[in-house]
């Protein structure tokens, strides 16, 4: 028999498994206070998942509010929807809007890499869809333990196949991303998936349930036992190395169903039969019902036993917690329900009216005629606990900062050998083994994709387009989380600008260790401050994001990983700039200031045995802005542009040569190690036709961007770096080998 509200009122002293569901004692007491009685089993299930760290942001909320202080405008206009909606929406001109968001699916991807990563993609795509947008692309930002570790050889192929299978089967191009290796990610891989969608302004849909008598329709896949408690059990607890297997908490994805769901939902939008909509992700029906109801102007009544099930033995609390994938909830006017059902039938999508909007202010859920939930919806969805977790600058950081890589021996190896080390470093090496598993062509609008430094998608036939890059260097963030977050922001911003697009908005995915550890919490707080200050200076609002805590095994937390996605707009994609070396005879110019900055670099890592110390390179957002202004105005003058990132100048030059299959000559100016491997920010390597070199130089001067001619594109396949000589084949072999060698061994 179900635990009804009446039963709960009559049996106040029943022992309840609040602790097993991840609630703290004071949280449980608060639920009793709110309800004026003990919660029913179903209510306890709802509160426990919705008040989990993953759903309630209870440890991060007080800090995330700072993003709200940023201006709500982008260089292109007002935000149409911001933080708090399923995904932020911004105006990009011509009546078009774009929505994008990045989200983590870290813990499930460690337990079951393939399904964990796949459902991460599925979740972000439904967020985009729920805004009324057609999803048009995905990106993935991945973190793994050392490349040569056996567990990496289990996790990486599974994650990549999961991201690939799901995105490929949905027909969404994967236009880029990143993969990064560090020992702290072993046991704590990160899978951050970014989705982007486009819509006309008038097609914007929001998640709210209003209009008394309107019907609540659940459509898509049936509800099963998968992912029950996924949120509270998986995402909000540190992995215990000896803990029990948690496989049953991972959701299983069906991308074919999601593809039908996308097409069906877009047809429902077009027919105008949707009043409000919400996707079902973490916390499933608990989240969708409470969030829709609290965002509306009334209450909601649900008959839970009408939920189509794939396992008839599920209890009401299990149904409320289930994280079965590929489900959506819509609010539909009674007169439009038949039309709604017809469209679903066309796409073979099952749809069921499970309730309606009421004029009260309660969320009431019945199970076979008996009430099992009767709560104020806001208390479930929004009024969860808020913690001011203690945070403190860790003692070890001074010692780390004092151990500068600039002081390391620069002649530990012959320079030529150092070049090969850096080009073959796991964090530099060719990602084709990964990206080849992703369809980058489907939908026919991919203007740029990997191995370009940013992805670019055409939005309309007039050439309007968007560019996206997602970046973070956790090693740098470890040295200084404030500056590390700004480096992530600056790098993504620069990568977008290098294509000729104007960067306009930010979405972030903040991956950290346990918030109960004051050091990890300090890293988190610092990273947010860095991002907020950086975004204010760049004029790019944060339109949404996600926090993932508890990325640690035992005492070892991951290096702080504030992943930043930057979206840019380009008026005519035909003018985009590729990072491939241009034709023979073109000049190569280095833009920006190069300093003696090696701390946190790939060079320190691979030439000095994993060295990680010192202070990050200088962040110069004014210089980044000048680069953007220059590229926005004068990208028509450049034939190629490659941002300098991890691996510095040597990587920028060699990679663009390998991709183009052309030789290159670069002069050495200054101390060789800093010149070739230094990771100073705000720099681009651009190819310029000698015929426009004077004009180009004038543009650089106008925008006060330091610019020096450093080399030439060669006829043939020789690569000359200062007085070092390489064949393209040798460098290409070194750069291409590491990942296939590790994965196919």
């Amino acid at each position: 028999m179900a635990d009804t509200t009446a039963n709960a009122a009559n049996t106040p002293d029943v022992e309840q498994p609040w602790a097993d569901l991840g609630l703290k004692e004071d949280e449980y007491q608060r639920i009793r206070e709110i309800l004026g009685r003990r919660p029913t089993a179903a209510e306890l299930a709802m509160y426990s998942v919705m008040w989990s760290e993953h759903c309630s942001y209870k440890s991060s909320k007080v800090h995330l509010r700072k993003f709200g202080d940023l201006p709500k405008t982008t260089p292109r206009g007002e935000l149409l929807a911001g933080i708090g909606e399923n995904a932020g929406v911004l105006d990009i001109g011509n009546g078009w809007a774009v929505t994008f968001k990045i989200e983590s699916h870290n813990h499930p991807s460690y337990v079951e890499p393939h399904q964990g990563a796949a459902t991460g993609v599925g979740g972000i795509v439904r967020d985009i869809l729920a805004m009324g947008a057609r999803p048009v692309g995905v990106m993935d930002s991945l973190r793994f333990g050392p490349l040569d570790l056996p567990d990496t050889q289990r996790v990486l192929p599974g994650v990549v196949a999961g991201v690939g299978t799901y995105g490929n089967c949905l027909g969404l191009p994967n236009i880029g991303g990143e993969a990064f290796f560090d020992p702290t990610y072993s046991g704590n891989p990160l899978v951050n998936a970014l989705g982007v969608g486009v819509l006309k302004h008038e097609d914007l849909h929001l998640a709210h349930a209003s209009g008394t008598g309107n019907k609540v329709v659940l459509y898509g896949a049936t509800t099963g036992g998968d992912g029950i408690g996924g949120v509270s059990v998986l995402a909000s607890e540190t992995f215990d190395a000896d803990g029990p297997a948690k496989r049953p908490s991972v959701q299983v994805g069906d991308p074919f169903m999601e593809k039908l769901l996308i097409e069906c939902t877009l047809e429902l939008f077009a027919a105008g039969v949707v009043t409000g909509i919400q996707d079902l992700g973490g916390a499933g029906l608990s989240c969708a019902t409470s969030e829709l109801a609290s965002a509306g102007d009334g209450g909601m009544h649900i008959e839970l036993d009408r939920t189509p099930l794939r396992d008839s033995s599920l209890s009401p609390e299990e149904i409320l917690m289930s994280e079965s994938q590929e489900r959506m909830m819509a609010v539909v006017e009674p007169g439009r329900v038949d039309e709604f059902m017809e469209i679903c039938a066309k796409w073979d999508v099952e749809a069921t009216v499970i309730g309606e909007v009421t004029d009260g202010d309660r969320l009431v859920i019945d199970w076979h005629g008996e009430t099992v939930v009767d709560v104020p919806p806001r208390t479930v969805a929004h009024d969860g606990p808020v913690y001011e977790r203690p945070y403190a600058r860790p003692e070890w950081i001074d010692k780390v900062n004092a151990d500068a890589a600039e002081d390391l021996a620069r002649d530990a190896l012959p320079l030529r050998e150092q070049v090969l080390r850096v080009m073959g470093a796991p964090n530099v090496a060719d990602r084709t083994w990964i990206t080849e598993q992703y369809d980058r062509y489907v939908l026919g609008d991919t203007v740029l994709a990997r191995p370009e430094s940013a992805g670019m998608i055409r939005v309309d036939e007039d050439g309007l387009g968007v560019a996206l890059s997602v970046d973070c260097n956790g090693r740098i963030a470890y040295l200084n989380p404030y500056l590390g977050a700004q480096h992530a922001l600056a790098q993504a911003y620069r990568c977008v600008a290098a294509t000729g697009a104007e960067p306009v908005a930010v979405s972030d995915c903040l991956n950290f260790g346990s918030p109960e550890d004051p050091s990890a919490m300090w890293q988190f707080v610092e990273a947010i401050l860095g991002l907020v200050d950086g975004c204010r200076e760049l004029g790019t609002p944060v339109t949404g994001g996600n926090v993932s805590f508890y990325n640690q095994t035992g005492e070892t937390a991951i290096v702080p990983t504030p992943t930043v996605g930057v979206l840019g707009v380009i008026d005519d994609v035909a003018t985009r700039v590729s990072s491939k070396l241009p034709d023979v005879g073109h000049e190569l110019w280095l833009l920006g200031e190069s300093r003696d900055e090696l701390s946190g670099s790939v060079w320190a890592d691979v030439v000095h045995d994993g060295h990680l110390g010192g202070m990050p390179p200088k962040v110069d957002l004014e210089a980044e802005k000048r680069l953007v202004a220059l590229m926005s105005e004068a990208h028509g003058l450049v034939a190629s542009a490659r941002p300098l990132v991890e691996g510095g100048l040597v990587r920028a030059a060699v990679e663009s040569a390998i991709i183009a299959g052309r030789g290159v000559e670069i002069e050495q100016q200054g101390e060789p190690v800093a010149w070739w491997f230094g990771e100073s920010s705000a720099r681009l390597l651009v190819g310029v036709d000698p015929a426009v070199a004077a004009e180009w130089n004038a543009a650089c001067e106008k925008h006060e961007v330091p610019a020096v001619r450093v080399g030439t594109v060669l006829d043939g396949t020789q690569v000359r770096l200062g007085d070092m000589e390489f064949s393209l084949e040798e460098l290409s072999g070194t750069w291409r080998a590491p990942i296939p060698a590790a994965m196919e061994s």
Binding site: T165, G171, D254, F256, K259, L260, D348, E436, D439, G444
Partner: protein
């Protein structure tokens, strides 16, 4: 001479919009066709596009083959109407027995998306006559189940009758005899794993070699009309 070219959408088709766009960019009238219809009506040619029809559950193409529209397509193809099966469409053509053999999982077990160099091995088909014999073309490839297999006798017949239309220069998936695409005896039905519809617009494609497929169809339709 233009014509009407239909593109079928099955549940799970993905490159249907791309194919419609390519058809239009090459001067034909694009006609979207829904898998649940009974007839393809008035079209001059049909493309079965790429994707994962029915999620590739059971076997790639195995369920789409039973869509109501396929009965009409099979009948019309047997009567000589040009049909091009791309990737999942090739799988559907094999499952429908309009083409021999089958596509199985890639030998390396991974999905692979890359720009693939192909050799044109037969110009005696509706879809390849605008190429030259032995021409090297570059066409997008992207699949998880593109490994062409057939029994020894079928392979012998395909080779003897010059029905291997496209061959891989660097076999990406383990296909027998490096086969990328084949035709039926009559040359009106062609199936291939690479995606010519992605090689039409230079802005989003590494080459425009896909236009040759549509130029071939134009040639064919003009000859029929003449």
């Amino acid at each position: 001479m233009s014509g009407r070219v239909g593109v079928v959408t099955f549940p799970g088709s993905l490159d249907d919009r791309d194919a419609l766009r390519a058809v239009e960019q090459c001067g034909f009238a694009p006609v979207p066709l829904w898998h649940g219809s009974d007839t393809i009506d008035d079209v001059d040619a049909v493309i079965l596009p790429g994707g994962f029809s029915y999620g590739d559950y059971l076997r790639a193409g195995a369920l789409a083959r039973f869509s109501p529209l396929m009965a009409d397509i099979i009948k019309r193809a047997e009567a000589g109407m040009p049909v091009l099966g791309i990737c999942n469409g090739f799988q559907v053509l094999c499952e429908s027995h309009l083409l021999p053999g089958a596509l199985t999982r890639n030998a390396h077990r991974r999905f692979r998306c890359r720009d693939e160099r192909l050799l044109v091995e037969s110009v005696d088909t509706v879809w390849s006559n605008a190429f030259t014999d032995g021409q090297e073309i570059n066409i997008v490839l992207k699949n998880g189940e593109g490994n062409y297999v057939a029994d020894a006798e079928t392979l012998m017949v395909l080779e003897a009758e010059r029905r291997v239309v496209f061959r891989y220069l660097e076999n990406p998936n383990g296909s027998m005899n490096d086969i990328a695409g084949i035709t039926n005896e009559r040359g009106n039905v062609v199936g291939l794993m690479p995606h010519p519809e992605h090689n039409v617009d230079p802005l989003v494609a590494p080459s425009t070699d896909g236009r040759g497929f549509f130029a071939s169809l134009t040639n064919f339709l003009s000859r029929v009309a003449a």
